[in-house]
Symmetry: C2
Subunit: 345 residues, 2 copies
C-alpha cells in the first residue's frame, strides 16, 4: 500500500529496452531472445517462457527499424497517390485493410500538385520499402521506367499508360465503358455526349475509347467535352455547357462517378431532369453512386479484387527481370440505376 508502488511497472514500450536487456534479465544470450521473437520453434519451451516473462516484465518491444536494417525487409508498402478524390481515398482504405491482414503497413505518399511527383518519388526511394504502389495518371512514362529500374517490386494501379512498362493492375476501362455504351444503345439513346475529367489522364483516354468505338459502330457520334478535373465542382460547372448544347443529347456519359455527381446536380440546377430529360452514366462505382439521391448507373470496380491482385504482385517472388511485366485486367460490373431508367432495386 505504499504510495509509489510501481518501481518497474510492466508498462509497454519502456524507454529503451533492447533484446540485450531482456537477455540479461532472463539469463540467456541476445541471440536466444531474438530467436524467441522471430523463430520460436527453434528454442526450448522452458527458455521460451523464461524469455517471454522477462520481456513482458521489462516491456520489451522488438525494434522494427533495426530488424529491417538487418533483414532488408520493412514489411511496409508505399503508396503514391493523389491527395484528393473520393476514388483514391477508397482505394487507399482497401489497401490498408488488406495489408493489415498480412501484418504489413501502408506508408502514404500523397501529392497535391502533379508537379510534386518527382519530389515524392525521390523521397520514396529513401525508404527501403517492400513494395510500391503507383497510382495516378500524373506519373509519367519516364518516371515509371525509372521505378522499374529499382530493384524492388512495383505495381501500377489503374494506370493504363503503365502497361508494359511496369507490372500493373487495372479495371478494364475500355470494356467497362463499352458495356455502358451498349446499355445506352439498348435503351434507345442515339445522341450521346461524353464528359471527360482530364484528357491527359490515361484512364480518361481508355474510357473514352471504349465509349466512342462502341457508339461509333452503331453510327452514333460521341462528342468529347472536358470537365477539367476529376471533381464534383468540375462536373457541376460543365453541366451548364451541356445545357447550352441544344438539342439536349439523349445521354451523358461521364468518365468518373465523382464528376458525374456534379453533372447530375448541375443539370438539375439548370432545370434538366435526370432521367426524364436525359440519361446519365458514371464510372468507378463509388459508394455514393448507390445513394438514393443519385442512384447512378455506373461501372463498379471490384476494388477489393484489384487491390488483392496488386498486393499479390508486390509480394510474389521476384520475376525474371527481362520478362514482360505482367498486366492484370479485372472486369467491372455494371450497376443499373435510375439515371438510365432502371427501377432502383
Amino acid at each position: 500500500m505504499s504510495l509509489k508502488s510501481q518501481p518497474d511497472s510492466p508498462r509497454s514500450t519502456r524507454k529503451g529496452v533492447t533484446s540485450v536487456d531482456v537477455a540479461a534479465a532472463a539469463g540467456v544470450s541476445q541471440a536466444t531472445v531474438g530467436r524467441v521473437f522471430s523463430s520460436p520453434e527453434k528454442v526450448s519451451p522452458a527458455t521460451r517462457d523464461k524469455v517471454q516473462e522477462a520481456a513482458e516484465r521489462l516491456g520489451y518491444v522488438p525494434n522494427v527499424i533495426a530488424r529491417s536494417l538487418k533483414s532488408r525487409r520493412t514489411n511496409i508498402i508505399g503508396a503514391v497517390v493523389p491527395a484528393f478524390g473520393e476514388y483514391w481515398q477508397s482505394v487507399l482504405t482497401e489497401f490498408s485493410r488488406q495489408l493489415a491482414n498480412q501484418d504489413r503497413q501502408l506508408l502514404l505518399f500523397s501529392f497535391a500538385e502533379p508537379g510534386d511527383v518527382d519530389g515524392v518519388l525521390a523521397s520514396v526511394a529513401q525508404y527501403r520499402l517492400d513494395g510500391l504502389v503507383l497510382s495516378s495518371a500524373n506519373i509519367g512514362q519516364a518516371q515509371l521506367a525509372q521505378m522499374r529500374e529499382s530493384d524492388r517490386p512495383v505495381v501500377a494501379f489503374n494506370h493504363p499508360a503503365a502497361v508494359g512498362v511496369v507490372p500493373s493492375v487495372s479495371v478494364d476501362n475500355e470494356a467497362g465503358m463499352a458495356e455502358l455504351a451498349a446499355h445506352l444503345i439498348e435503351v434507345g439513346c442515339r445522341d450521346v455526349l461524353y464528359i471527360g475529367g482530364a484528357s491527359t489522364a490515361s484512364t480518361d483516354q481508355s474510357r473514352y475509347r471504349g465509349a466512342s468505338q462502341t457508339l461509333g459502330n452503331q453510327g452514333i457520334a460521341c462528342t468529347y467535352l472536358e470537365a477539367g478535373a476529376f471533381t464534383y465542382e468540375a462536373g457541376y460547372k460543365v453541366a451548364r455547357q451541356i445545357v447550352e448544347h441544344q438539342p439536349l443529347p439523349d445521354a451523358v456519359m461521364v468518365s468518373a462517378d465523382e464528376v458525374a455527381f456534379g453533372v447530375h446536380d448541375g443539370l438539375r440546377a439548370a432545370g434538366v431532369d435526370v432521367p426524364a430529360d436525359l440519361f446519365l452514366t458514371g464510372f468507378d462505382g463509388l459508394s455514393q453512386s448507390a445513394w438514393a439521391g443519385f442512384d447512378l448507373t455506373t461501372l463498379v470496380q471490384a476494388t477489393d479484387v484489384l487491390v488483392a491482385r496488386a498486393i499479390e504482385i508486390l509480394l510474389a517472388p521476384e520475376q525474371p527481370a527481362d520478362s514482360d511485366p505482367v498486366s492484370v485486367v479485372v472486369p467491372g460490373t455494371i450497376r443499373y440505376g435510375k439515371t438510365t431508367g432502371s427501377g432502383h432495386g
Copy 2:
C-alpha cells in the same frame, strides 16, 4: 557507338549503393559522404561537388532505415484510424498533405473491427515513430493511458474521452451542436429528434449534450435515437423509425453528416420532404454536405486547422511528463443550407 553503351548508368536506386561505395568512388571517407547529405555546410565546396557527382553517378540514395536506427528519428508519423468513414478519409488526407510539406510521412494503421485495436496498437509500438495520432472513439481509456506511458509524442484526434489523459485536439463538439440547436430554435423548431451514431462514442455523447442542454434550456425535449453506426446505411434505415414517430418532429439533428445523408434520403424515400416537412442538421462539414442534392446545414470542422494543431503538438519539444496534457479545442463554423430553410447561397 557500341551497343551496350551504359556500363554503369546513372539510374536511381541502384542495387545496394551505400555511402561507403560513394566514398570509395569519390576518394573520400564514409564520414564525409554522410556529412554531405546531412550537414553540407561542414564540408568544403570542392569535396561536396566531388561527392555529389559520385553519388549521382552511382545512383546513391541515403538509407533512411539505417539513418533512423542511428539517429533515433524516423520522420514518420503513425495514425490509428477506423478503416471506414468519409470523415476519417478526409482527415487522413489532410494529415498526409501537411506532413508531406514538412518532409514527413504518414504510416497508416487502420482497423475494421473495434476489437482489432489492441492488435493494432501492439503493432504500432514496434515502429519507433516520431509521433502517433490516435483517432476513433474505439480506443479506450486504458489503452490511451498506456500510450501516454510510451515515451513518444501522442495526440488524440477528435476523441473527447481522451482529454486529460493524453494531449488532444478536437473540434468543439458540444458548442457546435449547441449552436446548431440554437439555430433550430431561432427558426421556430419546438420538437426535435436527435439521431446518434453510436451512443458509446464519446463524440456522440458530447454532441448530444450540446443539443439537449440548449434545447432543454428552452423547455424543448430532445429524444435520442441511435442509428447504430456512423454510416449512410444506418441513417437510411433509422429514417423509417423517424417517420413512425408521429406527429413528425419539427427537426432532426444528426450526430454526423454521413448518417445525415442517409436520413435525408431515407426520409425522402418514405415520402417526407426536407425541409418542407421537417428540418435536418448534420455535423462535420464533409464536402458532400455542400453538394446541391443535400445542401445540408451542418457544423463545418476546420480540418486543416485541427490537423495543423495536432502536428504542432506531435512535433513540439517534449513537455514535462507530469504536467497536464494539453487539450486544444477548435471551434467549428455553421454552414447554413436549405435543410433548415436557408436559401442555398
